[in-house]
């Protein structure tokens, strides 16, 4: 019977669920609870929170973040290339220049589109 | 003289005509449109004539010519070539289609003269010619199927020609849907043939059919039944016949060309073409004969009841097609083709004659408004009378020879139940003679019954461009039957010509072994039935119309019907009820209403409603909510996973 093969899986799921419930339950019952104002405040690197975090962010943050990731990845590619520069030779150089050129075009595009201007 | 290698011009010429009229027709004058349409068909006829001459010039056993134009589809082991084939069978159809088609084109120039959309009409008509010729000339099933679809499409477009009329566009749709049911069977049959033979070429399939298929086996029975389903759709046989009477919504020349002379005989052509397969399937043959005979009598009785001149002719066409299938079913393919030919002549003449009448009556189609037209339309009258006599089977007109041959074949056939079919067909012959002469007497004799003075004063003979085709067709209806002489000795000219196509291995292709005396007796019976029908019609519609009133005074049920029918039309209603009381009771109240409206339309409607309902049900699954779409994906995925695991664990 093929279902026999699944018994370990089911057991595994049961054990996992049991452990999770047990740990949470034990903490709830056994842990001491001391409640005071500072403890209930959100922790923000030691700073006092000044506004509610549930407000909207400007979409520009995302644009900046996306661009950061793109150029970050460019850097990720550039490091190993630089290390192997000699071995890769002229071919590697041309390839990387094309890659950088394409990204530069992208930069030109976002610049011209005004995505870099804050206001 | 042009040889057979130019045969491809026959279908191409009408196609060129259709293209010109379809694309730039609206820029041309009416005259130019007519010249293009008639000219292309006429030239096509001439080329076909040359081809026919060439075929006749060959030795009888070499009368098959195949011309490969190009390879159309080649896929794996499957090859379909765009190839045309001329053999005696297609040659006969070729002459009928191009000849009658040409005459009807000429007639249309006069008949459609006042209509809007003149170029559109001729573009469709030429396109129809192209498709029909492709159907006949195609050298494989696929080309036949393309022609088959094409003629259906053109028929649909032309029925709906007066699309301002709701009934016309409904009729067009009905025709298309019913034909699709048949076409579906045909397509399945083609697939099955390919599956069995690995080819769809006539020249590959038919010679080996005898070796590859067991006599009466499942495969050959299935294939032929599906083919026959296709034929019932196209040729308006039970149960797919109801579109044909409705198709009379189209212009009258279209009814003559498509719904009488050519397209509706495509089913007969197909069965005759596949005779090698049908001969191997006795059960299918029996069904073909049974459906043919039943349709012949059934449609004839329905013709009794109609008042629309074109609907009478439509039911008569259905009935005559029934004869042709009866002939096929008893293995008398020659008789079937013979009847196709003679029927094309006299029925085209009748339709064109009715068109001439309708033209003269300013568009009136109700026979109760007609009468006495014989004096005012002498040409139409004379040609109509000849054709009516021909369809009634009066010697020596064309219909007599072909119908008699069918009856004889049914009487002598080997198909189970052939004597019953003979009886049915013989009765149908009498009924046919009766309702056709009812039509004749109501239309051409007596006094004009139209009330509208405008119509009364306007009655006139049609112009020469319309009467000349009538005269030619009537002439053909007189002499066309002589191709079947001498029939008493068994073989005749047409039979000798067609026999190579229908020769079967293992069976002698000889004539019937029958004494002259029996043949003459049967002939006498069928002529007698025809005369009986004519005389009855004459009595009730010409000599003594008041006989009905006497019958009426006997009271009872008839009287109550009388009170129901208040106006002057009652006479006809009651004549009908009295003369063929039992038949009408069955055909009109029982069969026509019930079968037509409930069963056949019901089935079509059911299919539509069923799918529509299913569609609405599924449509509600599209709530527009993205999350429910995601759920559907998850459930589908779970199902897929379970299914796959189940399948792989099964091993």
């Amino acid at each position: 019977m093929i279902l026999n093969q699944y018994i370990p899986v089911i057991l595994m799921m049961l054990v996992a669920a049991g452990v999770a419930v047990a740990v949470l339950g034990l903490a709830e019952f056994l842990g001491p609870k001391v409640v005071f104002r500072e403890k209930m405040e959100p922790f923000e690197c030691g700073e006092n929170p000044i506004v509610s975090p549930k407000q909207r962010f400007s979409v520009r943050f995302y644009l900046i973040a996306l661009m950061f990731i793109i150029f970050d990845i460019e850097a990720v590619f550039l490091f190993p290339w630089a290390v192997n520069f000699q071995a890769l030779g002229l071919f590697g150089f041309v390839e990387m220049m094309i890659f950088v050129f394409i990204l530069a075009l992208g930069l030109a595009y976002v610049w011209k589109k005004g995505a870099l201007e804050w206001e | 003289m042009w040889g057979l290698e130019h045969i491809w011009w026959v279908p191409i010429l009408p196609l060129i005509g259709a293209t010109i009229n379809g694309l730039v027709g609206h820029l041309l004058s009416k005259r130019a449109v007519g010249v293009v349409a008639v000219g292309s068909t006429g030239l096509s006829f001439l080329v076909a004539l040359a081809a026919f001459g060439n075929i006749l010039g060959l030795a009888p056993d070499q009368r098959v010519y195949e011309s490969v134009l190009f390879t159309w589809i080649q896929a794996g082991s499957f090859t379909a070539e765009a190839a045309l084939q001329v053999d005696p069978l297609s040659a006969v159809f070729l002459m009928v289609v191009t000849g009658v088609g040409f005459l009807i084109h000429v007639y249309s120039v006069g008949y459609m003269g006042h209509e809007a959309g003149y170029p559109r009409y001729f573009a469709y008509l030429n396109l129809f010619m192209f498709s029909m010729l492709l159907l006949i000339l195609g050298a494989n099933f696929l080309l036949m199927f393309i022609g088959w679809e094409g003629v259906g499409l053109c028929s649909y477009l032309l029925i709906g020609y007066y699309y301002e009329k709701q009934s016309a566009s409904d009729a067009g749709k009905k025709a298309f849907v019913m034909n699709r049911i048949g076409d579906f069977g045909f397509l399945l049959a083609i697939m099955w043939i390919f599956w069995t033979f690995g080819s769809i070429d006539y020249t590959t399939v038919f010679p080996v059919a005898h070796d590859k298929l067991a006599l009466g086996g499942l495969a050959v029975t299935g294939i032929t039944l599906l083919l026959f389903l296709g034929a019932t759709g196209k040729s308006a046989q039970i149960p797919l016949y109801t579109w044909l009477p409705d198709a009379m919504e189209g212009p009258t020349p279209v009814s003559a060309l498509i719904h009488a002379a050519t397209m509706v005989t495509a089913g007969v052509y197909m069965v005759a073409r596949c005779n090698a397969l049908f001969n191997l399937a006795p059960m299918t043959m029996m069904i073909v004969a049974l459906i043919g005979a039943t349709t012949a009598i059934f449609a004839a009785t329905m013709g009794l009841y109609q008042f629309d001149i074109k609907r009478v002719l439509a039911y008569s066409t259905v009935s005559q097609l029934g004869y042709m299938f009866l002939a096929c079913g008893v293995g008398a393919y020659v008789a079937a083709v013979f009847h196709v030919m003679t029927h094309a002549f006299f029925k085209a003449c009748l339709f064109l004659g009715s068109g001439s009448v309708i033209h003269g009556m300013s568009g009136e189609q109700d026979m109760r408004q007609m009468g006495g037209l014989g004096k005012k339309m002498p040409m139409t009258h004379a040609t109509f009378l000849i054709s009516t006599l021909a369809i009634a089977g009066i010697p020596p007109l064309a219909g007599f020879f072909s119908k008699d041959e069918i009856l004889l074949s049914a009487f002598l056939g080997h198909t189970p139940g052939h004597l019953l079919y003979w009886v049915l067909a013989t009765i149908a012959a009498a009924v046919t003679a009766f309702y056709m002469f009812r039509l004749y007497f109501m239309t051409f004799t007596g006094e004009l019954r139209a009330e509208d003075h405008h119509v009364r004063d306007h009655v006139h003979e049609s112009p020469n461009v319309m009467t000349m085709p009538l005269v030619i067709l009537a002439g053909l209806a007189v002499v066309g039957g002589f191709l079947g002489l001498p029939m008493i000795e068994g073989g005749h000219a047409l039979k000798n010509f067609l026999d190579p196509v229908f020769a079967q291995p293992g069976h002698a292709a000889g004539g019937h072994d029958v004494s002259v005396g029996l043949e003459l007796l049967l002939m006498g019976v069928s002529v007698g039935m025809g005369v009986l029908g004519i005389l009855t019609a004459r009595y009730y519609y010409s000599v003594k119309p008041e006989a009905a009133v006497e019958l009426l005074n006997k009271g009872g049920m008839i009287k109550s019907i009388y009170t129901l029918m208040q106006n002057k039309y009652y006479v006809d209603e009651i004549y009908d009820a009295l003369i063929v009381k039992p038949i009408v009771a069955v055909s009109d109240k029982g069969l026509w209403r019930f079968f037509d409206v409930k069963v056949v339309d019901g089935l079509v409607n059911f299919a539509a409603t069923f799918f529509m309902g299913l569609g609405s049900m599924f449509r509600t699954a599209h709530t527009g909510l993205t999350r429910s779409y995601a759920y559907a994906m998850v459930f589908g995925g779970v199902f897929l996973a379970g299914f796959w695991l189940f399948l792989s664990s099964g091993k």
Partner: protein, 483 residues
């Protein structure tokens, strides 16, 4: 430290992809640097790029190389599909020219996205590695999400874009997870290596789970029931040229990847999955056709009909034969022409803002604009598979491949379905020719030059492929996959 070894790279093999990428970047630069007048030529530049890329792809026919360390393959199969993509992209650019100007989306980005999506499609057709396939899928999909929402001021367009994005991301999850499981079971992402390993893995649950999840991912992309739910909403909401594009090129690309993965990675499990694909095909065609019957809107009807066509094409996969794969390829070629043709004419009829797309809006078209009506009639007849149009040749060849392998019932069901489909296609013809106008004011039908060119090209192609398909079927036959 060992230096990086450069794998063998055949740059000439990716000529079409490079041309497309370069053209797309040129379009972006024009968008930001050129003046307003320069934008009038955007569509034609995109068309030119597609044509050039198509020509390069065509030059590669007969070539068979595997390059980039086995990640990328150029064979007749991929070449044939790339030609379909270029036809799809080029025609879309052509039918977009007028539309984009009318709807205010005449931006470089619009055409660039079409070309970027096409690059992704090319990668999908040529990929011989799970990771490369996924990359192609994402390049294509992300561009399509943007295209769906291109008409930003129309609410349905936004809705289409967002729905497509969310569900598309969901399906990408399935696809990627499936790939991970397959990798886990076989230890490789290379398709042929998976195929070899799979022989020893029949019945392995992890491998099967991976295969199932990948099937779900592909089934979503080709819009197979029950993973089709996004299709009607997205197709209806997207701008009409984008819908024309999505239903042809990307669908073909998804089929290309679907076919290649199943042919090269999972042939050992053919016995299991043909039933699955068989069921998907039947469900998809039936559902698509049946629901299309009850639609009132022509654009939505075409969306459901596109689902039905995906069902027919799945037949080519279900039969798991070389003839099946080339049958599917040929059908997709035909479908690209006829569906884009139908959408081109829909754009003509719908007028600005796509306001008039119900059946009712087509009434009297035969009289108002006879040539448009005629062309649309040819297109719907082809979609319905009525000879002698290309749709018939395509269906015939495809269903024949099913018959050859003995899949009689599948062929019969497919034929029944194509009979059912005639009803709703015919309805359009009925409205155009057999209904008079209802007196409501509709925009005057005017056919802009590029649309007219697209219509003429597609009509000619549909007729030509229907009457003389032999040469093209031969080409398709050379574009097979060994199962």
């Amino acid at each position: 430290m060992t230096p990086i070894k450069i794998p063998s790279i055949a740059l000439d093999a990716i000529g079409p992809e490079m041309v497309l990428t370069a053209t797309a970047m040129v379009l972006l630069m024009i968008e930001v640097f050129a003046d307003k007048k320069g934008r009038d030529h955007l569509g034609y530049i995109a068309l030119g790029g597609s044509v050039l890329a198509g020509a390069l792809a065509y030059k590669l026919s007969g070539v068979s190389v595997t390059t980039f360390g086995g990640l990328y393959v150029v064979d007749n199969f991929s070449t044939f599909f790339k030609i379909i993509f270029m036809i799809s992209a080029g025609l879309t650019a052509l039918i977009s020219v007028k539309y984009a100007q009318d709807e205010g989306i005449n931006h470089g980005e619009y055409y660039a996205m079409i070309l970027f999506a096409t690059v992704g499609m090319c990668v999908m057709a040529s990929a011989r590695d799970l990771i490369t396939i996924f990359m192609g899928v994402e390049v294509m999909s992300i561009a399509l999400y943007v295209l769906a929402g291109m008409t930003r001021t129309r609410e349905v367009s936004n809705e289409a874009s967002l729905k497509y994005f969310i569900l598309g991301a969901f399906s990408s999850g399935f696809l990627l997870y499936g790939m991970a499981l397959v990798y886990g079971a076989t230890g490789t992402t290379q398709l042929q290596a998976i195929g070899k390993a799979a022989g020893l893995l029949t019945g392995n649950p992890m491998f099967i789970a991976g295969a199932v999840m990948m099937t779900i991912g592909f089934a979503f992309k080709v819009a197979a029931v029950p993973f089709h739910m996004w299709t009607p909403d997205v197709y209806q909401g997207s701008p009409a040229p984008v819908t024309a594009f999505m239903s042809t090129g990307p669908k073909a690309a998804a089929f290309a990847a679907f076919l290649r993965v199943f042919a090269e990675a999972f042939p050992a499990m053919k016995e299991d999955w043909w039933v699955i694909i068989w069921s998907l095909a039947v469900l998809t065609m039936t559902m698509g056709n049946v629901v299309a019957l009850v639609q009132n809107d022509v654009k939505r009807m075409l969306a459901y009909s596109s689902i039905a066509h995906a069902g027919y094409i799945l037949v080519g996969l279900a039969v798991a034969s070389p003839a099946g794969s080339s049958g599917a390829a040929f059908y997709l070629l035909v479908y690209a022409f006829m569906n884009i043709g139908a959408f081109a004419l829909l754009i003509v009829a719908a007028g600005k803002g796509e306001r008039t797309t119900t059946y009712q809006d087509f009434s009297g078209m035969g009289r108002r604009s006879p040539l448009t009506a005629l062309a649309l009639t040819i297109m719907v007849f082809s979609l319905a598979g009525i000879p002698p149009t290309a749709g018939f040749a395509g269906k015939f060849y495809l269903f024949m491949s099913a018959l050859e392998k003995g899949f009689v019932w599948l062929a019969v069901i497919a034929v029944i379905n194509s009979v059912v489909s005639v009803f709703y296609y015919l309805k359009l013809v009925v409205y155009m020719y057999m209904r008079d106008e209802d007196g409501e004011a509709r925009p005057e039908i005017s056919v802009a030059a590029p649309l007219a060119v697209a219509a003429v090209v597609t009509v000619c192609a549909v007729m030509w492929l229907g009457v003389m398909p032999a040469k093209y079927i031969d080409f398709a036959k050379s574009a097979f996959l060994p199962f």
